[in-house]
């Protein structure tokens, strides 16, 4: 029996354009990962390369199988943000 650490919505994953992979933080410090190809094939398990924990990915399988890309924050948009006078 598969024991999931958690269930995470695909919208909460961050998408990397270069690797075409969705990522979500793992408690160990690494990240759970599942590729776009896996999702298109109906896979729903994201694994962590550093530990035994796995998460179930919640997403609309029909939406992925027809080739649509789910909008998720992209890691390629990261930039150094230094703001003053926030409060």
């Amino acid at each position: 029996m598969t024991v999931f650490h958690d269930e995470v919505e695909i919208e909460d994953f961050e998408y990397d354009d270069e690797t075409e992979t969705y990522y979500f933080p793992c408690p160990c410090g690494d990240r759970f990962a599942i590729t776009k190809e896996d999702l298109e094939n109906g896979e729903e398990v994201a694994t962590c390369p550093s530990c035994s924990l796995i998460v179930k990915v919640i997403y609309d399988k029909e939406q992925f199988m027809c080739g649509e890309v789910i909008e998720a924050p992209k890691t390629s948009e990261n930039k150094l943000e230094l703001a003053q006078n926030l409060l």
């Binding site: 024991v3 269930e7 408690p27 160990c28 924050p73 990261n78 703001a83 003053q84 926030l86």
Partner: protein
């Protein structure tokens, strides 16, 4: 990772692909614009929140993918006057700040889709989905409102036993609090032994769909932690100093509990290689 020294200097290390810091493996000083001293720093997953001593000024840096920096593109500062910030805290993808007037502000969308699912059909409160600092409605002086790293809200009210809380510590899905009398309570997710409570089974199965099973929704005292002088929570494990000894409990797959094994530790146990290590009251982190 970030540290603030006694002299108010900021030291950082770690990855820098999102601008968190210089990409080094040892702590390096990180100069800040304008202000010379850091009061407090808190790290989220990929961003940092810095409370300086310049009129309660708050600095933020790194990823803003989930609004965790508290501003939208084009807005560099708020036009509203705020009381000086006294304390800051960073979650996975959200942050909080408390002010001298006792107000709490929150920003960062965090796991808003999770909140939508859990609260449906009710709307997600504004302070749980704002990309700019939003006032958090805290209900009363006897209530403790806590946010875990993942954004779960725990509300501890009903102070009928007059247990005033002095310390609050949060893992990703559990909380540890200490009262002024020295009693320590834990609640939240329990399946890795992170609550340190007796009579917790070692069954790892966690009923995610109902958030029941291996989770405790009300604070339960952990007598073994009575009088703890320092408490620190990792994501799913904890350290504490009790009676001059360092104890650990919780998730241990990566040996973070320090006992040399890979087995989760369900109740606080002294770390064997440390003997009579006392807490350093002057250290900050």
């Amino acid at each position: 990772m970030s540290l603030s020294s006694e002299s108010g200097e900021l030291l950082m290390c770690g990855q820098n692909h999102k601008g968190q810091s210089q990409e080094v493996i040892t702590f390096q000083p990180c100069p800040l614009p304008g202000c010379s001293r850091v009061q407090q720093v808190s790290c989220g997953w990929d961003f940092s929140v810095i409370n300086s001593d310049c009129d309660g000024q708050v600095l933020v840096c790194s990823s803003n993918a989930f609004g965790q920096l508290g501003f939208s593109p084009g807005i560099t500062h708020s036009a509203e006057p705020f009381h000086p910030v006294t304390s800051v805290a960073a979650g996975l993808r959200h942050a909080l700040a408390s002010t001298a007037s006792g107000c709490v502000y929150q920003w960062g969308t965090g796991l808003s889709s999770h909140a939508k699912r859990m609260l449906s059909p009710h709307p997600v409160p504004a302070h749980l989905s704002s990309k700019e600092p939003c006032l958090v409605p805290v209900a009363g002086s006897t209530h403790c409102v806590c946010l875990t790293v993942k954004g779960d809200v725990f509300l501890w009210g009903s102070n009928k036993h007059d247990q005033r809380v002095t310390d609050v510590h949060s893992g990703w899905t559990h909380l540890v609090v200490k009262t002024e009398s020295g009693r320590v309570f834990t609640w939240g997710r329990a399946n890795y032994g992170q609550l340190g409570q007796i009579n917790q089974s070692t069954e790892k199965e966690y009923d995610i769909s109902t958030s029941s099973g291996q989770s405790i929704s009300r604070p339960v005292e952990v007598k073994a932690l009575f009088g703890a002088t320092q408490i620190a929570c990792g994501s799913e494990h904890n350290l504490a100093v009790v009676g001059g000894r360092i104890v650990s409990w919780g998730w241990n797959e990566h040996k973070m509990c320090g006992d040399g094994s890979l087995c989760d530790i369900p109740q606080p146990q002294p770390i064997p290689c440390f003997r009579d290590i006392t807490s350093n009251e002057d250290s900050t982190s």
